[in-house]
């Protein structure tokens, strides 16, 4: 009945409580445990504890994806800052479609959010196999079409 996922949700909630309160008093810890249990119970009744609501199975792969994403964010931050600060501000903005080969909703959302999170590109609308992207510089769309980010997110989400 109590799956590993449910239990891990409880652990995450309880850890959050402990770290946010920082007071090691038996009464307060007990109320934290009760509150976490209550939330888990309600989440269970709403049946939102699944691969989508609490994607714990992605944690380890996420650790390999995040450094690469961070680097992308740094690079594109510099590029966009340069555009904004250049006095003439020549823009080549526009939108285009980028193929997305993810099979799970979580993977697709991760891809779209990664696109949006890197400055210079924003996901406009998301469909199961393609994402409409607006870019400050059309080269950004070409780069996304080349598909490195797509491939990395695909590798991260694993099997559907």
């Amino acid at each position: 009945m109590v799956s590993a996922r449910t239990f891990s949700l409880f652990l995450v909630l309880f850890a959050t409580w402990l770290l946010l309160s920082g007071i090691w008093d038996p009464f307060l810890i007990a109320s934290g445990a009760v509150a976490s249990l209550l939330v888990v119970y309600i989440a269970h009744r709403m049946s939102v504890i699944d691969g989508e609501g609490h994607p714990i199975h992605l944690s380890w792969k996420l650790l390999t994806y995040l450094p690469w994403l961070t680097w992308q964010i740094v690079v594109s931050n510099i590029a966009v800052c340069r555009t904004i600060l250049s006095p003439s501000m020549k823009l080549d903005a526009g939108s285009g479609w980028v193929p997305a080969s993810q099979t799970t909703p979580v993977g697709l959302v991760t891809f779209a959010n990664s696109i949006t999170l890197t400055p210079g590109t924003v996901a406009l609308s998301v469909y199961p196999d393609t994402i409409q992207v607006h870019a400050l510089d059309r080269a950004g769309i070409e780069e996304l079409k080349a598909g490195e980010m797509n491939r990395r997110v695909r590798a991260m989400e694993g099997k559907a």
């Binding site: 007071i23 008093d25 009464f27 307060l28």
Partner: protein, 180 residues
């Protein structure tokens, strides 16, 4: 230095207030009111009133915008033009100016910010600060006073708000009709 931040923020507030008065689109006004309470929350924070800032952030920024949008969606999106009659304007301006001057005059009677021997710091406050944590077992002083020292009062308040909420729901909820 902190004072400088507060001054800049208060100037922002004044600019924002003037803009709000001049705007006619209720949608824009609702959004900008959210900004107003946001800046206000920062000012409260800088003035060390964390609990007030907390309420301001939660109510002002999170809930007010949503409620105002709900109200706009039920009524209209534009404010009607104010009356053109000169008398109306003068009365309005006079009321605002008199009220403002009265409020500013009242603040001159208040003790300065952070002065140690202000009346409020000498009456019962030291007692609560000293004995609150041990007497109630609650680490946060504000929570200790709200939930313990004046627990019945808070219970009453919660009851009133809860009852009001239920009544509003009972009046506005469209029971039975297209219930999908």
């Amino acid at each position: 230095m902190e004072r400088l931040h507060v001054i800049v923020l208060v100037i922002l507030l004044i600019a924002l207030a003037v803009t709000l008065v001049r705007l006619r689109s209720l949608l824009a006004i609702a959004i900008l009111t959210g900004v107003y309470s946001l800046i206000m929350a920062v000012v409260y924070t800088l003035l060390d009133a964390v609990d007030v800032a907390f309420t301001e952030a939660v109510v002002g920024a999170g809930i007010t915008l949503t409620l105002m949008l709900a109200a706009i969606s039920l009524t209209t999106r534009r404010e009607t033009k104010p009356g053109k009659r000169k008398g109306q304007r003068i009365v309005g301006a006079a009321t605002a100016i008199v009220a403002g001057v009265a409020l500013i005059y009242a603040t001159t009677d208040m003790p300065g910010l952070g002065i140690q021997d202000a009346p409020i710091h000498r009456h019962v406050a030291p007692y609560y600060i000293e004995t609150g944590p041990t007497e109630t077992g609650v680490p946060n002083i504000v929570t200790a006073s709200l939930a313990s020292y004046r627990g019945f009062d808070t219970l009453g308040e919660v009851t009133v708000i809860f009852t009001a909420g239920i009544s509003v729901m009972a009046l506005l909820w469209r029971w039975g009709k297209d219930d999908r």
